[in-house]
């Protein structure tokens, strides 16, 4: 929690710094500078999941809930629901504080409006992707007995497949297949939304949120089902 609090403070300090820095002291510039952080948030979902998971394996506390008669599915989904609530709370707090500082401390000219609208659409479009990342983090924590190992597994599963399929795609005959896979990897969804904004200044439209939403929610459902199946067979 201290880490997320520090993130919020840093973002406010950014706004304070930019406040007296012409010509960067407007909302459009500040929002554009933080577009890169959206993928970082995907990685931070393991931190949220770990906070809620609470070292259950290390403390051997799962047996207390299981022996009381709670089903493994209920435990698995209950923990995930708690993580989602936590994640929403933290995101609202951090982004809320940041956006408040931006709108209160920086200038908000009419030409910044498209960026502001795109930013809010990006937030909306990122939520299903972050839910998918949270489900992956959740699975890694339940599958691997150790927070550190689970974190590395999570980061590896999230980030590495894109590079692997990018390499494979260079082989003759694999190109279209690998491109299709990469289009539907969790790690690439936010990039699909932010890259045009950063490279060409093209603003987001609502229809561009559909594909990331489907990928994110699809990953979430599949990963939850896989996780429940694995946890059902795990010796406690």
């Amino acid at each position: 929690m201290i880490f997320f609090g520090a993130c919020a403070v840093l973002l406010v300090l950014t706004s304070l710094f930019m406040r007296n820095t012409e010509p960067f002291n407007n909302t459009s510039v500040s929002l554009a500078l933080t577009l890169n952080t959206f993928n970082m948030v995907s990685l931070l979902t393991i931190g949220v999941a770990d906070m809620v998971f609470c070292n259950e394996y290390k403390n051997q506390t799962f047996k207390n809930a299981l022996a009381y008669g709670y089903s493994r599915n209920a435990i698995y989904l209950g923990k995930f629901a708690t993580e989602v609530i936590f994640a929403f709370g933290i995101a609202i707090a951090v982004f809320g504080i940041y956006l408040l500082s931006v709108f209160l401390l920086l200038e908000n000219p009419p030409e910044a409006r498209p960026m502001v609208e795109s930013y809010f659409l990006l937030l909306l479009g990122s939520v299903p992707v972050w839910l998918g990342c949270l489900a992956l983090a959740h699975l890694c924590l339940f599958f691997v007995r150790g927070g550190t190992a689970a974190s590395f597994l999570f980061a590896g599963l999230l980030v590495i497949p894109d590079s692997v399929f990018a390499l494979l795609g260079m082989k003759e005959g694999f190109g279209p297949f690998c491109t299709a896979i990469r289009e539907n990897l969790l790690w690439n969804q936010i990039g699909h939304m932010t890259t045009p904004m950063m490279m060409t200044g093209q603003m987001l439209t609502p229809d561009q949120l559909i594909h990331p939403a489907l990928v994110g929610l699809g990953h979430m459902v599949v990963l939850l089902l896989i996780g429940m199946a694995l946890f059902r067979r795990k010796e406690i």
Partner: protein
């Protein structure tokens, strides 16, 4: 008829080629204090894990409070308080905070229940001390407190006396007996030290190398362990009359083959010998016999008693 709290039929657990628990028939009746006795690695904890749902059986069936389906077993387990293996809590929380977490998880409305179980378990004064700083005995006591939190109908305790000092053992035994007597609480308690259980158990189950070798009541066990003087004579009926007349002894058994088991004069077998020889009865064997509980267990499972 006594209500059967737990019944297993051919319940077994295998890990690959290794049989942790062979097909086992086991019964636990309401109001019993059942001592589950076995060496380290005998299968005690495996049986307890199966009963508490921490692991799934490889074969066989199990019924808890007459329920056999997964949902019935799940409901039945809410009537159980358990310690399996070591007690497990969150290290950076205090005793009260840990119990508060589990009170909320179990949906227990009364907050006062926490103070009650802490007092019952004898750790009401730990204050702000975190669980990671508890001694082993304190951890065990907190485990007992958690087991009592939901006001269970049955306690399943896996070696709960581990780590307790002698006073703590006495207090714990006293607590369990009181709960059994006052609230008719059924208790299944495992140990590899028979003497720990002998003061409280009403029934025993002996387990060895994954097999249930005997289930016996405390009375029958003590009867089997009863000490006696064994004599072998040529005239058993005359010997019996002589014992009653000369030694005023009526606690004896006449067995086939001229054997008598005499349950009196245990500290003075020479009196018995003198009486029999003086009565012109040929005495071929006289020896003191009878096992203590540990020796009974050792003889049951095979093996040498050490010291």
């Amino acid at each position: 008829m006594e209500e059967k709290i737990a019944v297993t039929r051919q319940l077994c657990k295998r890990y690959g080629q290794f049989t942790a628990l062979a097909p086992t028939d086991f019964e636990l009746k309401k109001g019993q204090i059942m001592g589950l006795v076995g060496r380290n690695g005998a299968g005690k904890t495996t049986l307890l894990k199966l009963l508490t749902g921490l692991t799934d059986p490889t074969g066989g069936t199990m019924a808890l409070f007459s329920g056999e389906t997964p949902s019935e077993l799940s409901r039945a387990r809410k009537r159980m308080g358990i310690i399996v293996e070591a007690p497990a809590f969150y290290p950076n929380l205090t005793a009260a905070q840990n119990l508060e977490y589990y009170r909320l998880q179990k949906g227990i409305p009364e907050r006062s229940r926490i103070d009650y179980v802490l007092t019952e378990a004898g750790i009401e004064s730990t204050g702000k001390k975190k669980y990671k700083d508890f001694s082993l005995g304190m951890k065990q006591r907190l485990g007992i407190a958690l087991a009592l939190l939901s006001d269970p109908d049955i306690l399943i305790l896996d070696e709960p006396l581990n780590g307790l000092d002698p006073m703590g053992i006495v207090e714990m035994r006293s607590l369990l007996q009181r709960l059994n007597r006052q609230r008719d609480l059924t208790i299944l308690i495992s140990s590899h030290i028979l003497s720990e259980l002998s003061a409280i158990a009403t029934n025993y189950s002996f387990i060895e190398q994954g097999r249930m070798v005997e289930q016996i009541s405390a009375e029958a066990l003590h009867e089997k362990c009863r000490r006696y003087v064994e004599v072998k004579v040529d005239q058993p009926q005359k010997a019996a009359a002589l014992l009653e007349r000369e030694l005023k002894c009526d606690q004896y058994e006449v067995l086939p083959g001229g054997v008598l088991h005499i349950y009196a004069c245990l500290e003075q077998p020479e009196k018995i010998a003198a009486a029999l020889v003086g009565g012109q009865i040929a005495l071929s064997v006289i020896q003191s016999k009878g096992a203590d509980l540990e020796q009974y267990f050792v003889d049951l499972v095979g093996g040498e008693r050490r010291a």
